[in-house]
């Protein structure tokens, strides 16, 4: 009973928040609504018994991704209203519905065939975090490490792309070189 109430409440809240994200004209409203929607989604994970996934959802999405977007929005002009594409609305809505139904068919087709076997069944008597650790560090160790390398590559790419004057290093230069660089900067400001 409480599960049903919680499901419908959070489903309504999530859909409303993501609808605001998609339709609003203010970028700040979209950011705030998206952060709220991410937290409401973690509620589904807690209802489904995936506690660790819910905690990760809150930490990664509302902690890291949203903070990154908030920092990124400092670079952009966010006070201006966002202009929208003037396309045919029926084509957009029809294509979205079609694609969504296709996704459900793809996901549901193996289940309807009724020969789904749990490859890594839930271990009895331990918490969700322990189960996740058992499976993640035995069966999925290689993908885990590949994901770690991918995150490292993404971090370096983000630093190189967003960083400024990466060819100059203040720690490797001598004092005279730093002063020279500062003088050049001052000349540029004055001229």
């Amino acid at each position: 009973m409480f599960e049903a109430i919680a499901f419908y409440l959070f489903a309504f809240l999530t859909i409303a928040m993501f609808y605001i994200t998609v339709t609003t004209k203010q970028a700040l409203y979209a950011l705030t609504a998206l952060a709220a929607g991410m937290i409401f989604i973690s509620a589904f994970f807690f209802i489904l018994g995936a506690d660790f996934l819910g905690a990760i959802q809150i930490i990664v999405y509302t902690g890291a991704v949203m903070a990154l977007y908030a920092f990124g929005m400092m670079f952009f002009d966010t006070t201006r209203d966002v202009k929208e594409k003037q396309g045919n609305k029926f084509i957009i809505v029809g294509l979205s519905t079609l694609a969504a139904i296709l996704i459900v068919v793809i996901v549901a087709a193996p289940m309807l065939s009724e020969n789904v076997i749990a490859l890594y069944p839930v271990v009895e008597g331990v918490g969700n975090t322990q189960e996740v650790g058992l499976v993640l560090f035995t069966k999925y160790l290689i993908p885990f490490e590949v994901a770690a390398v991918m995150l490292l590559v993404a971090m370096i790419a983000g630093i190189v792309l967003a960083g400024k004057k990466m060819d100059l290093s203040l720690t490797m230069m001598s004092g005279a070189e730093i002063e020279e660089a500062n003088e050049q900067k001052n000349k540029k400001v004055l001229s």
Partner: protein, 101 residues
């Protein structure tokens, strides 16, 4: 009333459709990224629900990898976006025509 797997799949479908509408109608690249986050999250709900109702942990594993991919996508995408904004002063999708796409 019992909440079954179909409820979660329908919810995931609705959220996926909202995200797709966002991807198609948004012109600002930053808000386009928001829409892709919605897409990834809707798929995560479906993974977690299937994992719960079949007693299999593989769904949760894939949800973790999806979260990792989303995080790295944001880092690289936002870096590229900042570079583009420094050079051109806007992040409208229609202005990015250098590849004649």
């Amino acid at each position: 009333m019992e909440i079954g797997l179909n409820h979660y799949l329908i919810l995931s479908t609705i959220l996926f459709a909202i995200g797709l509408v966002g991807v198609m109608r948004r012109k600002n690249l930053l808000l386009l990224f928001f829409a892709t986050e919605i897409l990834l999250n809707s798929v995560n709900i479906a993974f977690a629900a299937i994992s719960h109702y079949y007693g299999d942990l593989t769904g949760q594993m894939f949800a973790f990898f999806v979260i990792a991919i989303a995080a790295s996508e944001v880092a690289v995408g936002l870096g590229l976006l900042i570079v583009w904004f420094k050079r051109h002063g806007n992040i409208d999708l229609d202005s990015m025509t250098s590849m004649r796409g």
